[in-house]
Amino acid sequence: MGIGQGVLTATRRQQTPAPARRRWALLLLLPLGVAISLGFVVPLALLFVKSFETSLGYGQVSGHLTFSSYVTALTSPLYRTVAVNAFEIGGIGTVLTLVLSFPLAYFIRFRLRRGQHTVLLLIMISLFAGYIVKIYAWATILGTYGVINTALQDIGLIRHPLSVLLFSKIAVLIVVTYLSIPVSTLILVGAMQNVDRSLLENARDLGAGGLRAVTSVLVPLSMTGIVASLAYGFVVISGDYITPQLVGGTTGQMIGVPISDQFLSVGDQPLGSALSFLMLAVFVIVYLVLTRLERFKGV
């Protein structure tokens, strides 16, 4: 194709009417739409219907629709206790994740002159390691005879092992934060890619200190990534049901565990579904609140 022909084609493309372009865009999005519908929307809709069905116990349900599962979920002190615990750990863990991953993302984006891609690749590789394997690794590190207790004893800071390091809320917080940092960092690096380095330099030239430049320029311009990171962290951490079981001990129970038990042990699928949807409602509310933060973008 010659240059003239190419220009002609480009011109024709520009001349393609907007409705036609929209049709093409919709056509291209169709496979994704079908995949999301079949893999996400339809199962979610089925689960939603299930949450209104009547449990006959032991895995059986009747088609009679009722709000009873929602009433149980909302009025039972048991679920309230573990939900509060989950949101508490989710909230603190999410903030910790952001506090730790933001500087890391900043360092990768603005301080690393070379090897950015290698570091990002290493972070991604860390995601390939098994979830449960990583939790077990932390159990080993935090244990009575684990690396931390042994080191603290060796340097004379403690005489007896700290039993609070494992099988506690602290243990759950440490592990869930660790598990969330890689994805959070990737999200933040992605958001910071759109921030021109010269804007930070200009802020410094105008007299802002390093911290001021970050809080006044980088944070607002990365707000989309920060919101995404917070939303991701809160959903993943609050909904975790493996970590509390493995390192939470007698005090770290979270709402994911009873939800899982409703499906796997109790056989009350409507109640499990209702609890899941109430969790989802909380997540949506939190997300909507977080998106309000985006108003600060570009301040």
């Binding site: 048991l78 573990v82 098994g130 394997v133 099988f167 038990d261 109790v266």
Partner: protein
């Protein structure tokens, strides 16, 4: 599976929330397999057919199995037998008995499976749901060699043979024990010992609803064979368990998890457990774990093969059930499932390391001290239901 994937698989098997039978998967993953392999090697040359009474006719076909991992008995000797008879095995694994209930009672699940298992106490409930098929016992001649407890008597007529039919074939059983590290603490003999201050933060409670509730009931002196508790009694049990949980180091997600906690030195005792844990922990270098049946008593379990209503191609299923009752297969099964076997000749064939799981010399006495408790699926008015039990256990865990 290789490398990390394999490790991950094992860990997942070990450490998901477990009931006793989920433990079997965990035990299999690290212990049972390792223990069984030498025995499998030793026995692999001993064909099973010599001691088998053949059920006759062509048995080629497909077994569509739904139950716990390992209950399809996929050890080499059984695999060899299946392939030599042209029997395919398609397995669907569950994590709780309620999944069998849900699958077999749903229209979509009807006729999909021709072999499953139930915990003995589920039999009347399953009969009521219409998901059991009366068995043609002429096709399972090896059942005649079962120990007396499994082929006659009160329990037999409640859970396996009632309304004029045989509904299931018991194939594996055991009991819940307490375990402790004899090198670290003095022997624990009672369930109530787990409330003592000297055990504070030193033991694990298993996430085993049935075991914990029934052992607590025994300790409180309020257990009865039908598993019926008033609401007030259930509250007593919850209070007892809550106190125990607050004294514990952790609520372990499964028995496999407890084995790891012994190995890492985090705990010196656990409740509930099973005698095979001595073997599993020994494989991690600690040979001082001991098991005890609590003085107050404990509970037993017995799992039973059955043919779901609507199941087709049953010739291969009957042959499989019959074959698993032969002595060579029973000997393998004991190590593979780390549990007791049900036939007289089978028990005699079990190798010494695998005889620690149940007291074969005194089965009746064991079932007196650790009964096969009934479960309250449809309790009389004023008594807690099975769902109440599960909610009670959830509240203990969340307390």
């Amino acid at each position: 599976m290789h490398g990390e994937e394999s490790i991950r698989h094992d860990l997942e098997l070990l450490d998901r929330a477990m009931t006793r039978r989920r433990l079997l998967r965990g035990g299999l993953a690290i212990g049972g397999g390792a223990l069984a392999l030498p025995l499998l090697g030793a026995c692999a040359s001993g064909g099973s057919t010599a001691a088998t009474q053949s059920s006759g006719g062509s048995i080629a076909g497909t077994i569509d199995f739904i139950s716990y991992v390992a209950y399809d008995l996929k050890f080499p000797l059984m695999n060899k037998w299946r392939s030599s008879h042209g029997i395919d095995l398609k397995s669907t694994y569950i994590s709780d008995q309620s999944e069998v209930t849900a699958k077999l009672t749903s229209p979509a699940g009807h006729g999909l499976y021709n072999l499953s298992s139930y915990s003995a106490q589920y039999a009347p409930f399953y009969k009521k749901l219409g998901i059991l098929t009366p068995l043609d016992m002429s096709k399972i001649p090896n059942y005649a060699n079962s120990m007396p407890f499994f082929k006659s008597g009160k329990i037999w007529s409640e859970y396996w043979n009632f309304d004029g039919h045989q509904w299931g074939v018991p194939f594996t059983w055991g009991y819940d024990s307490i375990n402790y590290n004899a090198a670290k603490i003095k022997p624990i003999t009672k369930t109530s010992d787990f409330l003592l201050p000297e055990l504070k933060n030193k033991f694990a409670v298993a996430d085993d609803m049935l075991g914990m509730i029934l052992m607590s009931a025994q300790s409180l002196g309020i257990a009865n064979p039908r598993g019926l508790f008033t609401t007030s009694q259930l509250n007593q049990i919850v209070a007892f368990l809550t106190k125990m949980k607050k004294n514990a180091r952790t609520v372990a997600s499964g028995f496999g998890d407890i084995v790891n906690l012994y190995a890492s030195g985090e705990i010196v005792a656990n409740i509930s457990g099973f005698p095979g844990m001595q073997v599993l922990v020994a494989q991690k270098g600690i040979t001082t774990i001991r098991s005890a049946l609590p003085e107050e008593g404990s509970l037993s379990y017995c799992d039973t093969y059955f043919i779901p209503a609507g199941g087709n191609d049953t010739a291969s299923v009957y042959a499989f059930i019959n074959e698993c009752l032969t002595p060579p297969m029973q000997a393998q099964e004991a190590g593979y499932l780390q549990a007791g076997v049900t036939t007289v000749n089978g028990a005699a064939a079990v190798a010494a390391p695998n005889r620690v799981y149940v007291p074969y010399n005194d089965v009746t006495s064991l079932f007196e001290k650790a009964p096969l408790f009934g479960l309250p699926f449809s309790p009389p008015a004023g008594y807690a239901s099975f769902t109440d039990w599960t909610n009670a256990w959830e509240s203990v865990k969340a307390s």
